[in-house]
């Protein structure tokens, strides 16, 4: 079943006085199936962050549309958009975006509190999530007291506690060392196996090689896709880097 669909997305940035037009997205179309794990790759300036922002309803496309479970994102009113985002989307950011005024537990519960869930329900949902992410022991701590890897796990917990339709991850390994990167990617695989749809934007080959499908964006267009199939992570890695080389040297992929 298709969970997310992007049709002919176009995004043009205009400078304030209308002098310069920058085309961030030319014509992007793709769809994500339920339970998929998709990585979007591209260099800086390729438009991948713009794409993620549009998918996350943080930004609006100049033309084209995004459908989540068949529902048009652009049709949702400004009033409902926050609630929609809270209930259907989960976010993991490069710099974690944890609130320093909340304890780990409160950070994770934040979206549930915003949705006005009862204290009992929150506690019930928190337990399995914390256990599966291995952060039960640090729930009472403050964000500044824990390591970067732990912080990102807390951010993941916050993203999945609402049981969203899709988790959007923006460079989730960007601020992590290699050991923590491995752990986080392992975690992503784990929650994906449990049925969670994930869409990740990254320029790390290693991170992308863990996904089931990798989409390459260049100059605002989908350039190429690789499906994992039965390949191992190492083979995936090789394929991705070959593609990146091709993109960098400017040859057309055959």
């Amino acid at each position: 079943m298709v969970i997310l669909e992007a049709n002919n997305l176009k995004k043009v940035y205009t400078t304030r006085f209308g002098g310069n037009h920058v085309q961030a997205l030319r014509n992007v179309s793709f769809s994500v199936e339920e339970g998929e794990y998709v990585a979007i790759m591209g260099e800086s300036g390729s438009g991948k962050t713009t794409l993620l922002n549009i998918l996350a309803s943080l930004d609006k496309p100049t033309s084209g549309e995004v459908l989540l479970r068949g529902k048009k994102l652009t049709a949702i009113s400004e009033k409902e958009i926050s609630a929609f985002r809270r209930e259907h989307l989960g976010f993991v950011f490069q710099d974690f975006n944890l609130l320093d005024t909340f304890s780990v537990k409160d950070n994770i519960l934040l979206p549930l509190v915003l949705s006005r869930k009862s204290v009992k329900e929150m506690e019930e949902r928190l337990k399995p999530v914390a256990r599966s992410l291995g952060i039960e022991d640090i729930l009472a701590k403050m964000p500044y007291e824990i390591s970067g890897g732990q912080r990102q796990r807390v951010a993941v917990a916050r993203a999945i506690i609402t049981q969203p339709d899709i988790v959007l991850a923006d460079e989730p390994t960007g601020a992590l060392d290699s050991r923590n990167t491995d752990e986080l990617l392992e975690l992503f695989n784990q929650i994906n196996e449990a049925g969670q749809t994930i869409l990740m934007v990254t320029h790390s080959t290693k991170a992308a090689s863990h996904a089931k499908r990798v989409m390459f964006i260049k100059d605002g267009e989908v350039f190429h896709q690789i499906y994992r199939g039965d390949q191992s992570t190492a083979q995936m890695y090789q394929k991705i880097s070959d593609t990146l080389t091709l993109i960098a040297t400017g040859e057309k992929y055959e």
Partner: protein, 658 residues
């Protein structure tokens, strides 16, 4: 080229940081203006060396000290916010020496422009301020505000020193820190504040003690003595409760899960914990300053308004004269000669009586004198004996008025027992009330009218002298209206003194001496007007000063909080908090932070009422309703002003956050 290069950089920096620099600049300008004007006034020939001049000099001192504190405070805030900018210069290759030079040029520019602007504006508005003061102080000849070179000199000197100090402070800040620290001086991940129960409890105790003293104080002497104790207790209590108490309370709120995990409380409570950690002291400052302003304006204003009451009571007639001695025959001889003299004078509304007053305690229809070493008057009545030709009394008959409503059938005083012919109600009238409002520390007032001088003499002689205390001998009082020039009055005064000396010379037995006075109302009125007028003027002026300080603290609070909160609200919005919810949350937090000091100040004021009122009685000001209404009006006006400041600064905050 170097010099101009630095100068140019300094100018650019000032422009770039205008959001922070402009309020600082305006404050400096305003402070130097006020300092200049008040100093110029105090040095003016019509003021120097007089009551009003002394009052103004007091103001000059206060302004000077506050200018120093607040400019320094503001500067330290500005430099904190600018550290990363200066760090960048350092990393781009400038030496600390060069940065210091830029900073010096910046300060120099700021100092020159703001002081000069202050003096210019001061010279422009000086005349207006001057006229206001003249009006409040009362009948002064019209004069002009003169540009005073002395005060220009002193203004430049004082503010030059203040600016120099800030520049040195800034340079020391640069020299003491590493470039990398400068670059990211705002550290991330602040520690959560600890709950300090001991301080919280101490705060409650201090505040309760201060309030208790303020509401239980019973007489002006105690009020004056204990005022500063109460003030200090309340100040400490306020700071403790703002810093420790607020966090303790918020943490209790957080412990209550049902309450805490509600959308509207969740973000606000946890943010407030950090906000209070950073701002509690600032908010405490605002609260104390607001209380000061309110107390100052309402009390000086009440005194100023009440001065007419006071004048009416203290000096109801143009001329008042009195003569007193222990011996009736001396008194009567002097009276006879004075009456002869006054007979030829063109006067109206003449009144004359014979009076005597004493502290007495009522014990089973007997008025008992107080013991010699007794200093607490709270059980005693202030008893005023007087003759009154308009009331018809026989031997051993008296008319009595107790202001607390006591109505004995007959009274024994000393060895004499009196029948009461008239009691309270028939004697209670306006003039009487006015005359005896002045009763610091006594249980109440008793007004007793006796048949004649002889009756008063017999009664006073039957009381042991040692019980008289500081109360006067029996005396003749004269009061009348008479249109006199200053010279004529002086002559009248000399004549009466002459009569008194001549008459008393005829008596050999003057063992206890005698006392006399002749007062001209115009002098007393002028003196009173001047005192209270300049007092009120100073009150207004210093209030404006404190207001500016309050505004400034609030403004900078908003800016710094705004920068801190931007990131936080960005995250909240990404996680799914709607724009509306964010706005609501911000709004409720700012409201709490802002209006807490105002409300606390209001509560302080309520408790201070009794104590200030008691102190007013030392000035002879006893109009309670007037004082209460002045206080309420001042509070309302202040709140409106405060609200405007809040609106303005909140705008700045929202601009930064959204």
């Amino acid at each position: 080229m170097n010099r101009f290069f630095y100068l140019k950089l300094a100018l650019q920096n000032l422009k770039k940081n205008s959001k922070m620099i402009i309020p600082y600049f305006l404050t400096a300008t305003l402070f130097s203006m006020m300092f200049y004007v008040i100093l110029a006034l105090s040095l003016h020939s019509e003021f120097y060396g007089r009551t009003r001049g002394v009052m103004l000099s007091l103001g000059v001192g206060v302004i000077g000290i506050f200018a120093f504190i607040f400019l320094f405070y503001t500067n330290s805030f500005v430099i904190k916010q600018r550290k990363s900018e200066l760090g960048l210069y350092n990393i781009l290759g400038m030496e600390k020496y060069h940065i210091s030079r830029i900073l010096f040029y910046e300060t120099l520019l700021l100092a020159l422009v703001s002081i000069t602007a202050g003096i210019c504006i001061g010279s422009l508005f000086g005349q207006g301020i001057f006229l206001l003061l003249v009006k409040m102080v009362g009948d002064l000849p019209t004069m002009n505000f003169e540009i005073s070179f002395d005060s220009i000199k002193w203004t430049y000197l004082l503010f030059g020193i203040i600016f120099l100090c800030t520049a040195l402070f800034n340079v020391s800040q640069i020299h003491l820190s590493k470039p990398i620290d400068l670059l990211r001086s705002k550290s991330e991940g602040e520690k959560e504040p600890k709950t300090k129960w001991i301080l919280t409890i101490l705060g409650i105790i201090c505040l309760a003690a201060g309030y208790y003293i303020a509401i239980t104080v019973k007489n002006p002497v105690d009020a004056l003595l204990l005022f500063f104790v109460a003030v200090i207790l309340v100040i400490f209590g306020t700071y403790f409760l703002f810093t420790a108490g607020s966090i303790a309370l918020l943490k209790l709120m957080r412990k209550n899960k049902k309450y805490y995990y509600k959308t509207s409380h969740f973000v606000s409570v946890s943010n407030m914990i950090y906000r209070m950690k950073q701002n509690a002291v600032g908010l405490g400052n605002i609260c104390i300053l607001a209380t000061m302003v309110l107390v100052m304006i309402s009390s000086t204003g009440s005194l100023f308004i009440g001065v007419n009451d006071l004048i009416k009571r203290e000096v109801s007639k143009d001329v008042e004269a009195s003569f007193s001695s222990y011996y009736l025959e001396v008194n009567q001889a002097v009276d006879k000669n004075i009456m002869n003299y006054l007979h030829d004078l063109d006067m109206t509304d003449f009144t004359r009586n014979y009076s005597f007053s004493l502290a007495l305690k009522l014990k089973d229809d007997t008025l008992v004198p107080k013991d010699e070493d007794q200093t607490d008057y709270s059980d005693y009545y202030y008893v005023y004996f007087s003759t009154d030709d308009s009331i018809d009394l026989g031997d051993h008959e008296i008319a009595v008025y107790f202001d607390d409503g006591t109505a004995p059938k007959n009274l024994t005083i000393g060895t004499q027992t009196y029948q009461i012919k008239y009691n309270s109600d028939s004697l209670e009238n306006g003039s009487l009330d006015d005359m005896f409002n002045y009763n610091p520390g006594y249980k109440g007032l008793v007004y007793i009218i006796m048949k004649d001088e002889k009756a008063i003499d017999e009664m006073s002689k039957s009381i042991d002298l040692s019980h008289y205390g500081y109360v006067n001998w029996p005396q003749y009082n004269y009061a009348f209206n008479c249109d006199l020039s200053e010279d004529q009055f002086t002559k009248l005064q000399e004549d009466i003194y002459h009569i008194i000396h001549e008459t008393t010379d005829q008596f050999d037995n003057l063992a206890y001496g005698y006392g006399y006075s002749v007062n001209f109302q115009a002098f007393v009125r002028q003196e009173l007007m001047e005192f209270f007028g300049s007092f009120f003027f100073l009150g207004i002026f210093l209030s404006i000063l404190f207001m500016i300080a309050t505004t400034l603290i609030m403004y900078y609070k908003q800016i710094s909080e705004g920068y801190d909160d931007v990131k936080r609200y960005e995250i909240l919005q990404k996680v799914g908090m709607s724009h509306e919810e964010v706005k609501k949350s911000i709004h409720s937090q700012i409201m709490i932070v802002f209006f807490m000091p105002l409300i606390t100040a209001g509560i302080h004021l309520m408790f201070a009422f009794n104590m200030i009122y008691q102190m007013f009685m030392a000035f002879g000001m006893t109009n309670k309703t007037m004082f209460a209404s002045v206080m309420v009006i001042v509070y309302v006006i202040f709140s409106i002003f405060y609200f405007i400041i809040y609106q303005l600064t909140a705008k700045v905050y929202y601009k930064i956050v959204s």
